[in-house]
């Protein structure tokens, strides 16, 4: 029994972790915590299912198509929901605009894709039972994304530019770095990572329009635990939450999984607002 909980928990945890990476990617260059990462996951699942399942497009083309849609949505989010409110960031208007952006995409997909969960095609059909691909695909994708990001930050100049903008946007501007362009690219990259979570986890989550809201909430818990901005925190928080939920589901029963998750979420937030690995909060006066 323990094995099933672990395998399913790690698979779901990987999806939450990737959504967490998407949160961090957007936050790093704009200091905005957005409502849209979960929707990016939904886009990955729904458009993946549509390209590959409905239009029977070859696998790689379907993958690129789903990622493409998410990148465009990421671009739209930055342009419409983030840039205009960056000037008055202390008023937290971004909460309202990103919530609006999330609701828009969710409603459009609901009308177009229908409101019942629809099947997500088997991608490679490898493995069966607990070794089925639907369990290890998200985990592989999650580690690839994490390592890919670390290499990108450490080894590439563009990655260094991202860190520069994240650390001190004004100094970066003085250095001649086009911080606006970096922010746009980061929102597109966040779109890719979010959609990757939905696409790779599609066989587990199914292509469902309301996936976005669930992933946004459950994807934020690792961020709250790990501390916004820390990818390591997102990974650890994600896997912990995945396993916790599966265990709660088995021992406590389906209904109270939400209650258990919220209890963990609220205690962590109140005890350690910055999270375990979060960065210090600037001085007030």
């Amino acid at each position: 029994m323990l094995v099933t909980i672990l395998v399913a928990g790690i698979a779901i945890g990987a999806i939450y972790a990737m959504i967490g990476l998407s949160y961090n990617m957007m936050y790093s260059t704009s200091k905005v915590v957005s409502f849209t990462p979960g929707q990016l996951g939904m886009i990955g699942a729904v458009f993946g299912a549509w390209f590959i399942g409905v239009l029977e497009v070859p696998l790689w083309l379907g993958f690129l198509g789903a990622m493409g849609v998410a990148v465009v949505y990421g671009f739209f989010t930055e342009l419409v929901a983030v840039r205009p409110v960056l000037k008055s960031i202390e008023q937290h208007l971004y909460v309202l605009t990103t919530l609006a952006a999330a609701l828009m995409i969710q409603q459009v997909v609901a009308i177009w894709w229908g409101t019942d969960p629809r099947p997500f095609p088997t991608l490679f059909g490898l493995g069966a039972g607990l070794a089925s691909e639907k369990y290890w695909l998200p985990v592989v994708a999650c580690f690839l994304a994490f390592i890919g990001l670390e290499l990108f930050y450490r080894k590439t100049l563009w990655g260094a530019a991202f860190i520069a903008v994240a650390e001190d946007a004004e100094a970066s501007r003085a250095l001649g770095i086009l911080d606006v362009r970096i922010r746009v690219v980061s929102y597109c990259l966040a779109g890719f990572i979010g959609a990757l979570a939905g696409f790779m986890g599609g066989q587990l989550l199914l292509a469902f329009f309301a996936l976005g809201a669930t992933l946004t909430f459950y994807g934020f818990v690792p961020i709250a635990m790990g501390g916004i901005g820390s990818n390591r925190g997102a990974l650890i928080g994600g896997f912990f939450l995945g396993i916790l939920q599966q265990a709660a589901n088995y021992f406590v029963g389906g209904v109270f999984v939400g209650v258990v998750t919220f209890a963990v979420f609220i205690t962590v937030l109140l005890l350690v607002p910055r999270g375990l690995f979060g960065s210090a909060v600037a001085r007030r006066v």
Partner: protein, 248 residues
């Protein structure tokens, strides 16, 4: 003390009737200032007078409420700070703000991001030659450097960007005297290479030694603009500083 009209001809940078501030707060009021190619100009004044605000207004970091700025004959009033940088107007902001979690090398390479990849290595090596102290720490995180070394790194970043005019904001702030001398020596060397410098400096005497001209800014107004020689005469600066010079 009438404010001297800035030299019209051959001015590399010219600000005319420049006003700027933050939101409702008016900091600069009708500032006129100019810097000629290869010239080292010192900008001094009591703290809170608006020296840093003036540099930020010149380099496009903050919006200007009125007035115009031209650089190399081109109107750059509306340009972003990145665009000004590409024209050669490079602003080294105050407080040796390096990027701590990046290595020294990465800090320098970033400064050359908008240059062709092939030329970056040459620029970085050139900067190492000017500041050997940071050369051997190239692979260390910039955060682990001392205040002085960070100041050198920030100036090195300016050098990498091949400036025609370098705006330097209090390079000596918080530095030990021997390092201040080292920094000012490098600044003086710029002149020989034909790079103009607009130097904001608290250490007034030291700045006067290497500067060709001096502007004194008090409460957002230029109260004194003269060559370095006459500025060194006793009592001139004290009067400007301690309020005796009533703004017109």
């Amino acid at each position: 003390m009438p404010t001297l009209a800035p030299e019209r001809d051959g001015a590399l940078l010219m600000a005319s009737d420049l006003s700027a501030g933050y939101g409702a707060i008016r900091v600069l009021q009708q500032v006129n200032l100019s810097v000629r190619a290869g010239q080292v100009v010192a900008l001094v004044g009591p703290n809170g007078a608006g020296k840093s605000t003036l540099l930020k207004a010149l380099s496009g970091m903050i919006p200007k409420t009125s007035g115009t700025v031209s650089f190399g004959g081109q109107d750059i009033t509306r340009l972003t700070t990145q665009a000004c940088g590409r024209l050669g107007l490079v602003h080294v902001i105050e407080g040796h703000r390096v990027l701590p979690s990046l290595t020294v090398e990465e800090n320098l390479l970033l400064a050359a991001l908008d240059q062709p990849a092939s030329a970056r290595r040459a620029r970085v090596e050139e900067a190492y030659r000017v500041f050997p102290e940071i050369a051997e720490k190239r692979h260390l995180g910039a955060g682990s450097l001392s205040g002085g070394q960070q100041q050198m790194l920030v100036i090195a970043q300016g050098i990498v960007r091949q400036p025609r005019l370098l705006l330097l904001d209090e390079p000596s702030a918080g530095l030990a005297p021997v390092l201040i001398a080292r920094v000012l020596e490098v600044v003086a060397a710029f002149r020989t290479k034909g790079t103009a410098v607009l130097l904001v400096e608290q250490a007034v005497e030291k700045a006067l030694h290497i500067a060709d001209r001096v502007y004194v800014l008090v409460h957002g107004r230029i109260v004194l603009a003269t060559d370095a020689q006459s500025a060194r005469a006793p009592g001139v600066l004290e009067r400007a500083y301690l309020g005796a010079a009533q703004p017109s």
